[in-house]
Subunit: 244 residues, 2 copies
């Protein structure tokens, strides 16, 4: 019995954005592990055990996956979006670091459409030039580091994509982030709030930084800030390929 472990990205929500590679891994799996809304996207079938867990138990989930694969199971950890972008892949390697015996296991990371790419596509092409991608949550890093990164990213004139912009437990930080962006980028810079992208609840709104208010974002929102050249064309927002 040869076990393996795949960490697979289910994309932002639309089943038509799940890659055939990921579908094939799910079809061969004996065990699927993940945060419950992602596991709920996998159809039950004979021979497949679904292990759904709550948020914030990423390391437990990774350890369970490693143990099952080591005992011969074919395991898929499911992430939304891409597993390598603020998702389960890093948590898996953190767990693997403490278990050197398992480092020769058959482990594969299967990429997916991360939320910012789907959000950008449905907005136009706001990430069409150099950009950065920042997780605004301070669960795993100090907030002053977030502020510092925002300022440096603005000074580099990167377009920016933000994950986890605003949660109930820290409602004031995103207001602070908007203040920093207004200071660094001026009031006219375009900002897009893309909520629940590719799902039936998708809602995408673009305003200027002057018009932006924190309530436009929640934890299901990806926020995209343009660079100095980002502009509207018809109903779209795009960033030109060239810069001066």
């Amino acid at each position: 019995m040869t076990g393996w472990l795949a960490v697979a990205g289910l994309g932002p929500g639309d089943e038509a954005m799940v890659t055939p590679e990921v579908r094939a891994a799910l079809a061969e799996a004996t065990d699927v592990i993940g945060y419950f809304p992602y596991v709920a996207r996998v159809a039950p079938r004979d021979g497949l055990t679904l292990h759904a867990s709550d948020n914030r138990v990423e390391i437990d989930r990774a350890q369970l996956a490693l143990q099952l694969a080591a005992s011969g199971a074919r395991v898929v950890i499911v992430s939304s979006g891409d597993p390598g972008v603020f998702a389960m892949a890093s948590a898996l390697f953190e767990a693997l670091e403490t278990w050197p015996d398992l480092q020769t296991l058959d482990i594969r990371i299967l990429p997916g459409i991360t939320a910012m790419l789907a959000a950008a596509a449905h907005t136009g092409a706001p990430l069409g030039h150099d950009f950065c991608c920042i997780n605004l949550s301070d669960n795993l890093k100090p907030w002053p580091l977030v502020e510092r990164r925002l300022r440096l990213a603005a000074q580099a004139d990167f377009a920016m994509a933000f994950y986890n912009p605003r949660s109930v437990s820290r409602p004031h930080q995103f207001a602070r982030a908007l203040d920093i962006l207004r200071e660094e980028c001026g009031p006219d810079r375009l900002i897009t709030f893309a909520r629940a992208v590719t799902t039936p609840e998708e809602r995408i709104v673009t305003v200027s930084l002057a018009e932006a208010v924190p309530e436009m974002a929640d934890m299901r929102t990806v926020v995209i800030v343009g660079n100095a050249a980002t502009r509207r064309v018809g109903r779209f927002v795009y960033t030109p390929r060239s810069a001066v």
Copy 2:
């Protein structure tokens, strides 16, 4: 006859990474337009015209696509990777900006697996924390701006992904980029050269910045530089989720 235009990402090369959404658009298309190696990935069939063109004619390609769609054709512009990341989506909107009459056309951008996500997945999880994505080509921006962005990105302690790191026409610039990175990040920082990811020629090598030489990259290489915490675990390279 109602025409439409989709700009679709074919992913990094492996057909198992093409999304069903993109497959469906290709199946309905009357015309496929793109750089010839990407058009070569689309199977010919009755009722489908393939329009392959050379590199650096992005605006011509976008104009042809808009004209065909406006006359009732079902048009797919194909990009490798994701169309919104250093690919055809921004070029399309640049062309659309000059033709206001066509701004009500049915236009959709279909996301794909961009090269850095596939490269990161096959390396481990080097982009598992805040990161930036920079096109190192100076075709469309002045080289000093690239240097400035590299320094600011390093000061922000972003992991970094570089597209188009090195071409025959500008062999010295990537050497200069490596010098800047060594200056800002020190000699021990990990750098990954991921060439022809997901194709039969895939080759992924990780070294320290001290060991990196420009010849490790060419135009088929995505380069990923870790942040200060990026490290090896077994045969993988990953960036932890947390930062201090």
